[in-house]
Symmetry: C3
Subunit: 455 residues, 3 copies
Amino acid sequence: MEFLGPNYLIGNQTGLALYEIIKDLPIIDAHNHADVKAIWENLNFADIWQAEAATDHYVWECLRKRGVPEELLTGNRSSEDKWLAFAQVFDELAGNPTYEWIHLDLKRVLGIDELICAENAKLIWDKAKAALARPELRQQQMLQGMKVEVMCSTDDPIDSLEYHKKLAEAGCPVRVLPTFRPDKAMNIFKPDWKDYITKFEACVGSTFASVGDLVAALQDRHDYFAECGCVASDHGVEVPFAFDVEEEDADEIFQKAYAGHELEEDEIVLFMSFLLNEVAEMDAEKGWVFQLHIGAVRDVRDSLFDSIGADTGGDISDHMTEIVTPLRDLLNRFDDRLNVVLYNLNPIHTGTLAQLTRAFGAKVNLGLAWWLNDSPIGMKRQLEYVGSVDVLMNMAGMVSDSRKVPSYGSRHEMFRRVLADVVGEMVERGQMPLHLAERLVRSLAYDRPKQLFGL
Amino acid sequence: MEFLGPNYLIGNQTGLALYEIIKDLPIIDAHNHADVKAIWENLNFADIWQAEAATDHYVWECLRKRGVPEELLTGNRSSEDKWLAFAQVFDELAGNPTYEWIHLDLKRVLGIDELICAENAKLIWDKAKAALARPELRQQQMLQGMKVEVMCSTDDPIDSLEYHKKLAEAGCPVRVLPTFRPDKAMNIFKPDWKDYITKFEACVGSTFASVGDLVAALQDRHDYFAECGCVASDHGVEVPFAFDVEEEDADEIFQKAYAGHELEEDEIVLFMSFLLNEVAEMDAEKGWVFQLHIGAVRDVRDSLFDSIGADTGGDISDHMTEIVTPLRDLLNRFDDRLNVVLYNLNPIHTGTLAQLTRAFGAKVNLGLAWWLNDSPIGMKRQLEYVGSVDVLMNMAGMVSDSRKVPSYGSRHEMFRRVLADVVGEMVERGQMPLHLAERLVRSLAYDRPKQLFGL
Amino acid sequence: MEFLGPNYLIGNQTGLALYEIIKDLPIIDAHNHADVKAIWENLNFADIWQAEAATDHYVWECLRKRGVPEELLTGNRSSEDKWLAFAQVFDELAGNPTYEWIHLDLKRVLGIDELICAENAKLIWDKAKAALARPELRQQQMLQGMKVEVMCSTDDPIDSLEYHKKLAEAGCPVRVLPTFRPDKAMNIFKPDWKDYITKFEACVGSTFASVGDLVAALQDRHDYFAECGCVASDHGVEVPFAFDVEEEDADEIFQKAYAGHELEEDEIVLFMSFLLNEVAEMDAEKGWVFQLHIGAVRDVRDSLFDSIGADTGGDISDHMTEIVTPLRDLLNRFDDRLNVVLYNLNPIHTGTLAQLTRAFGAKVNLGLAWWLNDSPIGMKRQLEYVGSVDVLMNMAGMVSDSRKVPSYGSRHEMFRRVLADVVGEMVERGQMPLHLAERLVRSLAYDRPKQLFGL
């Protein structure tokens, strides 16, 4: 019962043995929010706040719950002040996976075993500063130390991918691949959609006279992403609108929005559906993986959005999100010719999604519990249930969704431990022979994502 | 931790003791999809594919997930080829209950202890062929060997029930009773509804000038089913539409559909509601059990429906299915005068359904987790939660929903083990005295369904 | 594995140690349905039926499931007859928390260790009669014996609070505070709304010419409740309608209803939203806690409502209840200036609610699983999941929601045991150091509600 000790998250002997098999396997991380420029620059992190909290709104949210004011989270105060405020309340986060993740990072990456708390705040600040200055903890070396073999960042179609190319040319031993995420082109309901389209026109050097032109431009960039090693698209959608829509109908809506007119709700749905199907078509042709991150209701807390912007902690999920009705057209249209991965955020959607992936055969697969659901209990409950409906061997494996370099290893360690625990428990309950359990955990920890994403 | 060993699915000592009490009780199976003609003919199964997979789309779905092509599932290839393809990927299904069910069938019914895998494929094929040829594994004898006391098949109102009668007349020791399932008469939204009505007219030898005539014809058949030993109706509904509707309104809709005109969405709802209430009235008068299988969204995967038809693996459930609003009228109308069993498919509906059955008193009861939800974890989570809201003693007991003869024993064994495990755990946590736990498991395993269905 | 023995509900050694720390802490109970007049009168309970079942529709519902007729529940039969009928079927409730709660009450409050069953019915009747007659089991002394420090009843704005005041003046060692629950003023859709408004006008001595007058009258009573020690408002809502609405729009609807005209669905939503925001404003100004009990679909079973009335057992929850959309306006409007507690009834809403409370910072908190969800498994599943998304330290602590005096101790004991079990398990899995677990359980069992509600 040692905190983060050898038995961490594993409640049975078989699980401990299974974990031994997978704990040192390299990491394939098919979805994260890496800052590729920073990885290319390969600097040392300045301090523990910069390494652990400056880019991670998941951490900010937890600290806000304990009353830490915005100036000590996203404001102008010094990293050291912020770290001291962080340490002041960190005790109170016990039970939230953030408490575990950050201690894991300290232990595994920085070699710091002390508990974060008010008393140890300064000590850890100093120790971390010394550790982070070491050459083996520059960003690329840190990733190598965690055995990251491939990682896929999240990129806008108009990104130049300059740093992905530089890393590849320099032969960086950690392969950093782009992912094609055209959310901004899809999100025609947003006030800044037209501005984005203008940027897109500039990027491809033409103006879009029709939705066909936009699709052609997306295709251009899709091809370019492929040249840069991309193997997947990704879509962050609240509702996965993917109805069958005629190009001519989509074009009418495009023209209306392009001219600055407001759209009706159902026009938005049709346009988003059309574009999602078009990108799925591009993916199908190239054999890419089409990833849907379903159910994030974004920017629910106005005060955060208004003062700090998107992706700062005001996102949730809603049990009332429609999935089956909007998504079935696309799954049928691309039946057996598109690799799909569906990720779920609200545990309430697990049953529906697992049954949907089961019904659509070998190419439609479930991703691991995601974001606010990728905690030990979230992943455990998902794995326990999914296997009973769908086939565990088909799952897409862990993705870290990480927003900071030191966390890749911890995220995957947590997943691997939960996986070993759940599968070990199944063996101990007589539901599976041991040799198949060994094969299963090895596959989900490494082989399966490597094969599915063609890495 | 032996695979399917004595402790299979039971994680506590009390549970093991409870299982000893119930493991050899006869089986009452109030809902399945038995091929009654085949039971009457009482042939031996030709081979292991015919026995285990030829009629079970649950198996096909799992094999599709591992890339087995349709020709080796539902196509024209030989049983042996299909079995070899099955065995080739079977290892990869570990974790899905199919892996456990089929091995249980082999072990308990055929006496084959080998694991199904590529290496053992031919060996098991041969062993099974030999075993299945034995007289004690003819269908009736197989059912007797599994101690099936009563089983209720699923039958259309216009079925002749010829084989139910023959079995009864021949004094078959396994009682095989029909169940009245008028889905086809209800499903007025289906393109083949009118064809079905024409067949119904032929069956009763009159034409239907009004919805009243259809109801009278259903009543005719309901009476006939009663003569043949039927004790329950069953309804496979996506949404349990059961609003109070006037006959005159239902008749208008009936006339419109009968004349070949397309219906509005709300007309469909009203017609289905009307007919469901009418059948409930017939059930109430006879003291039958009115069973609702709620939430199956059928034929979601077009390619399966188009090429192979209904009931081939394209069915799912949806967390967004309405239950309370459409169902409350009926529950109130028949308050305390109709035995109702509600079955739930999506674990998400458990809370709602358990509270609904709790609220409506002694005659409205919950069935066990069903279909894609009757796995070890599905049943376990349901039993754990339901008892805390509703009363476990009121549950309707296990139904196999089986589509093949060798599986009755395995399905009920799995349920009984889960039941023993859950109740045993409650005893070990001090929530229940042992003698009541013994009574509870015995009741849910045998006494309760026998009493509820009047068997 | 002794029934209700020392290890009751606690499956790990650390949990047992944690329970030792909290088991004797005083009880803070911020929400219940106490009969304050009866507490003031401080009589002895006449018999075990009066003490345990006469005021508790949760018990009636369970007995109805086992066929006990209404005359022996809510009818005119004697308490002894009712108790004997109760004891006759009580065995069959094993597995439902009612079986545990009532035995806990007998054991801890009355000192009766026998199991309730047909054989012991008369013995327990007699023993309980003797015990309940003792001076230390008068209502106030019973509450003291259970270490109730503060308890907050549920009161209508027009209640005189006469008995709260008398208890305070008499220096009752158990502080009994009122809670401001203006549901009747909100529920403009109910047939008796206008009658209630007339009573409200009488209470404040003026007629309401506008919705502003109603708000002013509510403010009057809000102030009066504050004088009487009130620290919170509470709202029992099916859907938490809380959209931003202009007073002028609300007034138009108020006028229409006041004049006796029927309202449209959306008018009801707007009116209820307006009033909820107004009360939230009053709470924010006084620093009260604004409690929302979300998702009760009331009076679903007509036969109960028609013959016995509201709050008799026909209430359920529905997985299809909207929460995010109707509630977000209010959460944003009062961002960081209103203490909010959200209670959830259907386990299906846990994910959504925990993410919502996480997103809205330090002042928006989750309450414990409530009513049909505050069973051992309901509370356990909630605690396990909530910590992984939100911060456990922010939870509002246990409220008994109790409808009878002897149950306060049992309700809180059950919660404390579940809390110790869940947190102990986290320690044993290496997710939390022991000293923080000790702090966490102590806080949720006592310190946190005391601080949050300012008690």
